[in-house]
């Protein structure tokens, strides 16, 4: 697939380091600031994930829930997010962008219309948390037609046989969920176990780029740098919440933590 995500992984392989992937929520704390924040951290990040908030997020922990509710209270709508993505993609520091969220939002917008809109504004990938294989086959092929990378998810409970099938149907990037938890949970498995599972996936197809997410913080990130990419979500979102609560600038705090995370994996 001719896609910026793939190109980024190729480049990082030459640099021999994992991708730093961040997750923040579009519209938090408000439309403009969320865009400014994304631009600001993009200098240090390789791929950005942007959450499109839903008010019934059944797989998210407290941090991302709070961030999503804040964004919704400030009036963010799906079409605003598409407009913001378009603006972001014009920025000189723009990185490949993955939109992430729940299927209800896509379903309500219309699958085909959603993918077309993604293509039109420059979205590079999609993660739909509750649209798992094989139920995502039709949607994933819609994405493929438009060169939008549909990111399949694999969890510790995914059986080997299922894993093989998911990988076969996957695009350039796969997301390995490190542990059974909602987002923001404390890492309850050892980095060794995570890397063992990572290698198991890698062995099935070494050409796929496997990023690891859930429980990644500045404390845990360096122990996992053998992965193709590492996703930091709740830890970053919490930084934003904390600075808002302390009436400090969330942009400065976010940039600081992203820089710190980067320093641990290069």
């Amino acid at each position: 697939m001719n896609n910026l995500i793939n190109k980024t992984f190729l480049k990082l392989k030459r640099e021999n380091r994992p991708a730093l992937v961040t997750y923040t929520v579009a519209g938090d704390p408000n439309k403009n600031q969320s865009l400014t924040l994304l631009k600001k951290i993009s200098k240090h990040v390789d791929i950005v994930e942007w959450g499109f908030p839903h008010n019934c997020p059944t797989a998210d922990g407290k941090e991302i829930q709070n961030s999503s509710y804040r964004a919704l209270e400030n009036g963010i709508k799906l079409n605003d997010i598409f407009n913001l993505v378009k603006k972001y993609k014009k920025d000189k520091n723009a990185k490949p962008l993955i939109l992430m969220g729940y299927y209800q939002m896509v379903f309500n917008y219309g699958e085909e219309k959603f993918v077309n809109k993604c293509k039109q504004v420059g979205v590079d990938g999609l993660i739909i948390v509750d649209l798992i294989w094989p139920y995502n086959k039709k949607f994933a092929s819609l994405c493929k037609k438009k060169s939008v990378c549909f990111v399949q998810l694999i969890a510790p409970t995914t059986t080997n046989q299922r894993m093989m099938r998911i990988i076969k149907d996957s695009h350039d990037m796969i997301y390995y969920i490190s542990m059974l938890s909602t987002t923001g949970g404390k890492l309850k498995v050892t980095p060794k176990t995570i890397l063992k599972n990572f290698n198991k996936i890698k062995k099935i197809n070494k050409n796929k780029n496997i990023v690891v997410g859930f429980g990644i913080t500045d404390k845990t990130i360096s122990s996992l740098k053998k992965a193709d990419g590492l996703v930091v979500g709740s830890a970053l979102v919490k930084t934003i919440t904390d600075s808002l609560n302390q009436r400090r600038d969330p942009l400065i705090a976010a940039e600081k933590i992203v820089k710190k995370l980067k320093s641990k994996i290069i």
């Binding site: 839903h54 008010n55 019934c56 997020p57 059944t58 797989a59 998210d60 922990g61 829930q65 509710y69 919704l72 709508k77 799906l78 729940y102 299927y103 209800q104 939002m105 379903f107 309500n108 917008y109 948390v129 509750d130 649209l131 798992i132 139920y135 998810l153 694999i154 969890a155 510790p156 409970t157 995914t158 059986t159 299922r162 969920i177 059974l180 938890s181 909602t182 949970g185």
Partner: protein, 403 residues
């Protein structure tokens, strides 16, 4: 959309868990799929297992109290002067509601799957109460997720759950009612699915959860069919009226009758006025793991609801009800808080039964239509919950609570 003959409503789905090709499914996180598939296999096995069936029978009989009564509401019939009004009094079960059936079955499945932990959501507290009791009866540790608004308005049931040894997890996010309690319970399951059995409190959630629920509550219509034949020698022309929140009692009340022509057995579902996705033609949406009719805004966000009745204060509806609606087998309407309160006043003045706020919505519809019908017509209302949990609300709204 067509209903297949001779198959229970809960088994009418395809291999992907969809009813009528579009309701239900499994919109879940990857991590929970394996436990959900394991549960699906286990349930398929248990349904045919003699030991499980004997245990089910024994629990329904000696623990829940056996067959619930079916009788004519003579005074209400006379007062309204139209159709005969009969009552299937499910509220006489131990645990005072139909939730006893699927709480008990879920506790039994949990036990037989070798798990010690059981979690569930509750709105009015009826499912929570029954799950706490069944868990205690079978020696399980129970965790109940309940919105803080509901904890305040259904304190009688909260005390009951605590006394039965269950842990109550207050949910303070979003609406602070059932919709967020279900979400929080599902989040807990995402993190603990390998050790904990999830009991979803209504006929909602990913396919297997709604299926287990309606399999259990179907006991209501199994009994009713027998009682009808005893009473009338046949299945007479009927109207079966049931309240709908998620829809677990209605589906159980109707299951044995879905094969009948709707002119023979009419199915009428009554929602709360401001939580009525079926009656108001809400959009097909994805909520709590399943496609269903659900109240949403234009952007797809789940809409807030209002009902005086905590058990009905929910934006979604069972996928099986969506199926019955599109197949034109059931008809759906709604009643307001005020109509439900008026129904309570009238029914309790004339009869000895004490319906909780939820079935009062069904009685409100019955009161509306009965006077227009002929005397040979038969209406049966499922009195699916007992009122004492709502004493505080009735005292506040009506100024009295009947003895």
């Amino acid at each position: 959309m067509k209903i297949k003959k001779g198959i229970p409503i809960y088994d009418q789905h395809d291999k992907n868990g969809f009813y009528g090709g579009k309701f239900g499914g499994n919109f879940v996180a990857e991590g929970t799929l394996k436990p959900i598939q394991d549960l699906t296999k286990l349930f398929a096995k248990l349904r045919k297992d003699k030991k499980f069936l004997a245990k089910k029978e024994q629990l329904f009989k000696s623990y829940l109290g056996g067959e619930t009564p079916f009788f004519k509401l003579k005074n209400l019939t006379k007062y309204l002067g139209g159709a005969q009004i009969w009552c299937k009094d499910v509220s006489s079960l131990k645990g005072s509601a139909h939730k006893g059936y699927h709480a008990t079955i879920n506790a039994l499945i949990c036990k037989m799957s070798g798990r010690k932990y059981l979690c569930g959501d509750t709105g009015a507290g009826m499912f929570g109460k029954n799950l706490a009791m069944a868990g205690k009866h079978l020696g399980l540790k129970v965790k109940i997720f309940m919105g803080t608004k509901d904890i305040a308005r259904q304190s009688v049931n909260v005390k009951f759950m605590r006394d039965a040894g269950a842990e109550i997890v207050p949910v303070d996010s979003g609406s602070k009612t059932l919709v967020d309690a279900v979400s929080e319970c599902m989040r807990y399951y995402v993190s603990n699915c390998e050790t904990t059995h999830l009991a979803v409190g209504s006929a909602i959630g990913a396919n297997i959860f709604s299926k287990i629920c309606v399999y259990s509550t179907s006991q209501i219509s199994i009994e009713l069919k027998k009682q009808l034949i005893q009473q009338f020698g046949k299945i007479p022309k009927l109207k079966l009226i049931n309240v709908i929140g998620g829809g677990s009692s209605a589906l159980g009340f109707w299951n044995e009758f879905i094969d009948y022509d709707k002119k023979h057995v009419e199915l009428i579902g009554v929602e709360a006025k401001y939580a009525a996705p079926l009656a108001t033609n809400a959009k097909l949406s994805i909520l709590h793991g399943a496609a269903q009719y659900c109240l949403t805004n234009k952007d797809g966000q789940i809409s807030p609801t209002h009902s005086l009745s905590a058990g009905l204060d929910y934006p979604g509806s069972s996928p099986m009800h969506g199926f019955l609606k599109d197949a034109k087998r059931a008809r759906f309407t709604f009643a307001s808080d005020k109509e439900a309160l008026q129904a309570f006043k009238l029914v309790t003045k004339l009869e000895a039964i004490r319906p909780s706020l939820e079935p009062c919505h069904a009685f409100a519809e019955c009161i509306k239509i009965a006077p227009k019908l002929k005397k040979d017509q038969i209406i049966i209302v499922n009195n699916c919950g007992e009122a004492s949990k709502d004493k505080k609300i009735f005292l506040k709204e009506l100024g009295y609570y009947p003895s």
